[in-house]
Symmetry: C2
Amino acid sequence: MNNLPGHPPGRGPGASVKITDVAARAGVAPMTVSRVLNTPDRVSEPTAARVRAAIEELGYMPNLIAGGLSSRRSRMIAAIVPTIASPMFSAPVQTFTDAMEQAGYHVMLALSGYGAESEDAQIRAVLARRPDGLLLTGAQRSPAIRALLRSANLPVVEIWDTGPEPTDILVGFDHAEMGAAVADFFVRQGHTNFAALCARDPRAILRRQGFVDRVAHHGLTLVAERRLDAPSSIEDGRTGLRQIVGQLAPRTALFCSSDLVAFGAMTEARLHGVNVPEQLAICGFGDFEVARFCSPAITTARVDGGAIGARAAEALLARINGATAESRVLVPFEIIPRGTT
Amino acid sequence: MNNLPGHPPGRGPGASVKITDVAARAGVAPMTVSRVLNTPDRVSEPTAARVRAAIEELGYMPNLIAGGLSSRRSRMIAAIVPTIASPMFSAPVQTFTDAMEQAGYHVMLALSGYGAESEDAQIRAVLARRPDGLLLTGAQRSPAIRALLRSANLPVVEIWDTGPEPTDILVGFDHAEMGAAVADFFVRQGHTNFAALCARDPRAILRRQGFVDRVAHHGLTLVAERRLDAPSSIEDGRTGLRQIVGQLAPRTALFCSSDLVAFGAMTEARLHGVNVPEQLAICGFGDFEVARFCSPAITTARVDGGAIGARAAEALLARINGATAESRVLVPFEIIPRGTT
DNA sequence: TTGTAGGCGTTATCAG
DNA sequence: CTGATAACGCCTACAA
């Protein structure tokens, strides 16, 4: 029965039970079994009960691959993020996956690192699986990929950024604006000397630029700066600070591209006898746990990464279900003054 | 052509190009196109070139759903972990996903939280997608699930634990043994007063038990202890220490179920005027970045989470490819003495 | 090296 | 409410 020409045998006894077996056992047509599983309302209760019993007895497990091929709905979403080693992305992926699972979808995870070509390749690869939706990081895409995504004709959410021309749905905020807000915050605190420790990832670059521009707008400049690799870590923060510690003014305000960097910078500064916040004020980004619960707690530009994932899931589900979904969700950010400023 | 009865139209212009279209364009049989894609060696170069051109011109994108149904290989692995909010699991998932992608597989991620029923449901759900392999966390499974997994007849890796009867492949270490090693380490340092801050997740419970038993074996007991929720965090470490700080002996050795907890405990201890390591020695678990780069750096029982993911991928791929794979990979742990002891 | 035939397991549609 | 039929798009096996 499984040894017909043309195909290898099924995986195992349980796995090879198919809808026709259940149908035969229950004395109904396969289609009725399918209905019991997918649209129970359209089956009479006695029939449904018989089918459920047959399913139970045979240990039937539906084959979603076959169902997907037939229905053209994979009930699967692909998510492509640079990495999940950083809370910046693990948080939204966690909430997004939770939310999608609750809605009956599974999430295929792909990690793109920080190279654009890599992401392009990932997108092509996952589209071959015909996902019902796509989660991407950032809003900067090549025209070719844009075209590909449009022709694939599926809902796409881009998270963590904004831009003039989103591919489809956008859940994020303006990073340059946030950098500027941090500069303003420091200026309001009376700072006149600034420094920055920012990673080279696309969004950190925007935050830095917003910060630098606003500092310049106030007629001031940076006294020290260092670029870090992406994704940046606590270690990068320590190394970075070590490299600029000699250039710091007696009272400097430091902007870091993430709380991890900020924590590293703070740790290193104290080892060099630089008092935080008296001699060095520090503001990070992300409101990660370490910033909240280290001592002194680190002032941060807060964005709720988990909320981004949740909102992305909402928007995607709405679009999949044909509802009119907002195509541009702006997530709020706020500066949370804590012990380092 | 796409409007035959029984099916909705294809997704988009690009998405609806199928292998027969490419075949017609290239003047070959569909099977030849399939070969160009999957077994290029078995197609003559001129023919292959014509096919590739046709693929390019039409923007053909293979449908892996259809291919999977036909070949009974999904080229997909499902990974089920409690959460990726903790480095404990985000690290192995990251390396595992990277490795599987490199081998041409995609990873479906499911998050089970810390409830066993939840994991059972997840397993059933992902098996419906007919993964070519499965990554699970921990080695404790119900007989029913064991049976299900065996009948599904696919390679399964269980990570982060060992046990007498693994389902299939195991990549981990003995947590009780590690707890005991930490106790021995403290004893060698001359400690006689012990405390513990351990989460309630299955593996942390084992580590704690190993620690407590070994302490007892030395004729000693804990002076203070607190159980924490899983997954435990820096905040839990702070809260936990606050609750036991009154019970600490003048010189106490504290074992924490993760470096996050250890960092929180250290932070809180210092705020209470308890010197680390003089009055309170601390050993964590996991060798997370924060433990390595905070100051003082935290002594930890090190296990390379990333390596676990990499070894799991190796073993799974070997098994999938029919090679004989080790079914039990013991990952080493070591205690790394740093500033908190 | 290439082609032909048929089926993978499910679901949309229409008929009863 | 239930059933019969015909795809979904690709690949295994075998033939030429």
